[in-house]
Subunit: 335 residues, 2 copies
């Protein structure tokens, strides 16, 4: 196959599935298959940062053109191999690089405790873009907070906490004898707040909960009160901006207050909007860790999301979006 | 010690050393010492993202107040321990989390070859903000490019290459039998271009070099020509914006072209400017890896810098700064 023919096939496939990530993402898709075939759809979706429905549509199109087939997972056909070869991609013996924050064995006791405590948690309310992070993930969030000095003696705010990261944090702190400042949870979902209180009673821990709709301003006595906020906001850019804006309003003034933000990968043009929003509020990025968070059975964003760590600068200021009608994915679909 | 007294001591120290990172960074400094004491100044500078001169001024101030002392490295005094305790920070048995991209043993043959080939490289020209990345770092950059599909069959541009990442990339490709598209280096420093050509002759590799001052527009035939650009720009925000802008001009049109950018940590307010510049040009952040790059003997930025990986969106467009008089740190000092 000629290089130009291969490129035009990739362009055609990209147009056929309306892929916002462009033909280069299809190349990556095929390359992942080459490296690890046979590959389950979920894995390739995750490693190419595509949602499962998009990855599935892409697989269908690639099958239609006989570039891939199914054999205990996605595999390349001879034709698919030829296409890759013509654009320079061949099989190699290069191992995958290790990256991110691998889960350490010493965290297992925390995960085991959480698995027991959270077994009776309320199910996710999808209309609020809830989807539960795995217990290993929320334990890792607590460890990550500790690693980056976000726990000891600090006043912590969890903005929307269906993942129950607040509970993971106090269990983590208890396990390792850490002192916490105040721990506060805001959520719109009473079921979550009640569950947090129930676990606090049974474990003799202290978390303050407030039922708040973040579309409204947060009460005065809760503003300028925290060292750290932690959030895994709704999937829309509006949702992200609103939650981060309210988080900033809740932080104490001054440089170096912390924001730990879990957020899925977006197509390039939405990703620009996401980071433009973060930067416009004067938050300074410190780290972006792909695939840090894993979610139970979530199809959106291939069940993974990034950990984005920021600190406040001297120009940090909340900017609340004016139009809050499309806060949740659901409302966006309906409108 | 009372918590409020501790906080006001941290505030005083922060003001005494004019720390743009604020008192929370001093807390982190002391906390790092607690976790790993006795700790060399370089290590604590690196892990708190402070330059060595700033970390050194901070240590002096902390010594003056009897919070730390020197005993085979920085150690906490009894008084320092009391201060930390009063703000909730105590000694724990929690191990450090592993993070980033650990160097894999299978890359050693590449590093060994580079060590031999680069032994006669030209020394850094500090007036151009040059400082050599370690050979292990440039080998890791090549492996990272490969991991993220930035090598095979791709047309690659290295924008300023005193680190010689271009050579690391072709040696890596040769070692593992990878096909490359065109490999092009732009630099202002003829010594570097000559050295690259010399190594290419002796290893039978092919790199095209161009002596260019990026303050000038790049020649038409080199615009819209590359899939990937790699750069480790001057330390100033102007330098970053100029190099990234020229990189964008050199990329082929379309979504998903790649930018691999090495850049040191900045104080929060400058970090906001850095990412605002990246985002304003429509680049979509994919990953930010702290301490990915290590430099030989560099005092600036504690000898480490971040790897920032971006892709183009459909709104990507170069924005070249109007005032280019403060491109290099040196010019900034002089002005």
């Amino acid at each position: 196959m000629e290089r130009n023919d291969a490129i035009s096939i990739l362009n055609d496939v990209s147009e056929a599935v309306h892929l916002l990530e462009g033909p280069s993402r299809i190349r990556e898709f095929l390359r992942q298959v080459l490296r690890l075939q046979p590959l389950p759809l979920h894995s390739v979706a995750r490693s190419t940062s595509l949602t499962v429905p998009v990855a599935s549509a892409l697989r269908r199109e690639l099958e239609k053109r006989s570039l891939v087939a199914r054999k205990g997972g996605i595999v390349l056909t001879e034709y698919g191999l030829k296409l890759l070869e013509s654009i320079g991609v061949t099989e190699t013996q290069i191992p995958r690089l290790q990256s991110g924050y691998p889960f350490p064995a010493w965290l297992n006791p925390v995960v085991e405790k959480l698995d027991i405590l959270l077994s009776s948690r309320p199910g996710p309310d999808f209309s609020l873009d809830q989807s539960h992070a795995e217990t290993a993930t929320i334990a890792m969030r607590a460890a990550y907070l500790y690693e980056h000095d976000g726990i000891e003696g600090k006043d912590l705010l969890f903005l929307g906490d269906d993942d129950l990261t607040s509970l993971a944090t106090i269990i983590f702190a208890k396990e390792f004898g850490l002192q916490l400042g105040s721990v506060v949870v805001f959520d719109l979902d009473e079921r979550i707040l009640e569950f947090v209180q129930e676990i606090c009673r049974s474990t003799d821990c202290d978390i303050e909960t407030h039922c708040l709709d973040l579309r409204e301003r947060i009460p005065g006595h809760l503003r300028n009160s925290f060292d750290v906020f932690v959030t895994d906001p709704p999937y829309t850019v509006t949702g992200l901006s609103l939650f981060v804006g309210r988080g900033i309003e809740a932080l104490k003034p001054g440089v170096g207050r912390q924001c730990f933000l879990s957020y899925g990968s977006r197509n390039p043009s939405d990703a620009v909007k996401v980071y433009a929003s973060i930067v416009s509020m004067g938050l300074a990025l410190q780290e972006v860790v792909p695939e840090f968070n894993r979610y139970v059975g979530a199809q959106m964003y291939a069940g993974v999301s990034n950990m984005i760590r920021c600190v406040t600068s001297d120009g940090t200021e909340a900017i609340i979006p004016e139009d809050l009608s499309t806060l949740y994915t659901d409302s966006r679909k309906r409108s």
